[in-house]
């Protein structure tokens, strides 16, 4: 499933770029994400995604690998992890594009989410709704934090 968001941020591109690489502050914007760690700065990170939908609670310890980055403009990353308790895997391909001039930045966020295993049997509508919620909340948090710092 593919998700996209466009976020207009009243903050210079360079500052948004620095924020994206500040793992603790970045992870704090992702709802349900906790315990961020750095394996190799600029390349590999860890984090745990915890989500609850109705009677279901999932916990995915994730490894995040940065596949490609161009300073102040583009990041491509891949995150994957498994919840062994419920026998399910999650894989996310994430792309971030930054454009803009002066104090205004446009952040284009694209995410392809694949859920495999028992969790997928519950249906795409549940996964889509939760992913939509996470993307919306993340976009709001990111904008708020960056603009509050301006």
């Amino acid at each position: 499933m593919r998700f996209e968001r466009e976020i207009d941020i009243h903050s210079p591109k360079e500052k948004v770029w620095r924020f994206l690489w500040d793992i603790d502050r970045f992870i704090a914007c992702v709802p349900g994400c906790k315990e961020a760690g750095t394996l190799e700065a600029g390349k590999s990170y860890t984090a745990t995604m915890v989500e609850k939908v109705g009677p279901f609670r999932v916990e995915f310890p994730m490894r995040i690998d940065v596949l490609e980055s161009r300073e102040h403009s583009y990041i491509k990353a891949q995150a994957s992890g498994s919840d062994s308790k419920i026998g399910s895997r999650m894989k996310v391909e994430l792309e971030v594009n930054l454009t803009g001039e002066g104090d205004q930045t446009k952040l284009l966020l694209g995410a392809s989410v694949d859920i495999l295993g028992k969790l997928a049997t519950l249906g795409h509508s549940m996964i889509k709704r939760k992913a939509d919620q996470v993307m919306d909340e993340f976009a709001g948090n990111l904008k708020q934090k960056l603009e509050a710092d301006a």
Binding site: T121, S125, M126, R129
Partner: protein, 286 residues
């Protein structure tokens, strides 16, 4: 495999509510168990405690009260499918219940459990939307009544608070010259699409019409734009507009591509079922 859990057996609604409040996320209401035990056996959910509410008396009765049929949340699908009062006063509901899931589920699964689990591919919620049902939600500190439109939040999620129970479904009787129908289609165990229509005629014109679609998207939903395409028209004009209403209902159903069919396929089926259901209710109204 089902992991060990403790079974609590309260005998009143306040007792059940207090248990749910005390144990929070580690406890869950257990009624028929046809959905909950399945996901627990699959290891998708685990609770240290199940609060069995089947010992609470009088929560499984069906009665008529001033033009409203009151259905206890613990009534099983099978009991509702053969209930004499429903067959006489709300036959569309009994007919829908006859075809919920399969005989094993109907025998023990409850109407309350079906609504509260909020599995998207379920039948009753869609029909109850066009019937204008209200739900009674109760907890230790009191109770509230909400229209069913406000109950479903998303797949597997409702507005029920952690210590709240669904105790009763209140369905107003259809007025004179009115009828309702529920049709569904699917090729797996659960339906791909369900469509419900209720119609009230004033002579030869459509006084009121309600359309709801379920199973296709995350929750059952009323499709008011489709209703607008039919309301106030003569039956003949409404019948001619049913294709347009079906296309609107398909688009607005929030259908999603999954194992039960593609988005386009489900949208198409919504139109087909709406046309059939509308033809059926027009005949019944006359």
């Amino acid at each position: 495999m089902l992991r060990r859990f403790r079974l609590e057996e309260p005998e009143t609604v306040p007792e059940a509510s207090e248990l749910l409040a005390r144990y929070g996320d580690s406890a869950r209401v257990y009624a028929g168990g046809t959905e909950l035990l399945l996901v627990m056996k699959e290891g998708l959910a685990h609770y240290e405690r199940l609060v069995n509410i089947k010992k609470i008396p009088n929560l499984d009765t069906v009665k008529q009260d001033n033009g409203v049929i009151s259905i206890g949340a613990l009534a099983t699908h099978r009991s509702l499918s053969t209930d004499a009062l429903l067959e006489e006063r709300l036959p569309v509901f009994a007919a829908m219940e006859k075809h919920v899931a399969n005989i094993r589920v109907r025998e023990v699964g409850t109407i309350g459990g079906n609504l509260c689990f909020a599995e998207p591919h379920a039948d009753p919620g869609t029909l109850l939307l066009v019937l204008g049902a209200k739900l009674i939600l109760a907890k230790a500190s009191g109770r509230r009544e909400i229209p069913i439109e406000g109950f479903f939040v998303g797949p597997y999620e409702t507005v029920l608070e952690d210590d709240e129970l669904l105790t009763e479904i209140r369905v107003p009787l259809l007025p004179a010259h009115s009828a309702a129908a529920y049709l569904k289609f699917g090729y797996l165990e659960r339906p791909s699409v369900g469509v419900a229509v209720s119609l009230s005629l004033d002579g030869a014109s459509v006084r009121d019409v309600r359309v709801a679609v379920g199973c296709a998207g995350p929750t059952p939903r009323r499709i008011e734009a489709a209703e607008e395409a039919l309301r106030g028209k003569s039956v003949e004009d409404a019948s001619e507009s049913i294709g347009k209403a079906g296309a609107i209902a398909g688009r607005e159903s929030d259908a999603i591509t999954d194992l039960h069919g593609s988005k386009d396929y489900k949208e198409h089926i919504v139109g087909v079922l709406l046309k059939r259901a509308f033809t059926q209710v027009v005949e019944q109204c006359r």
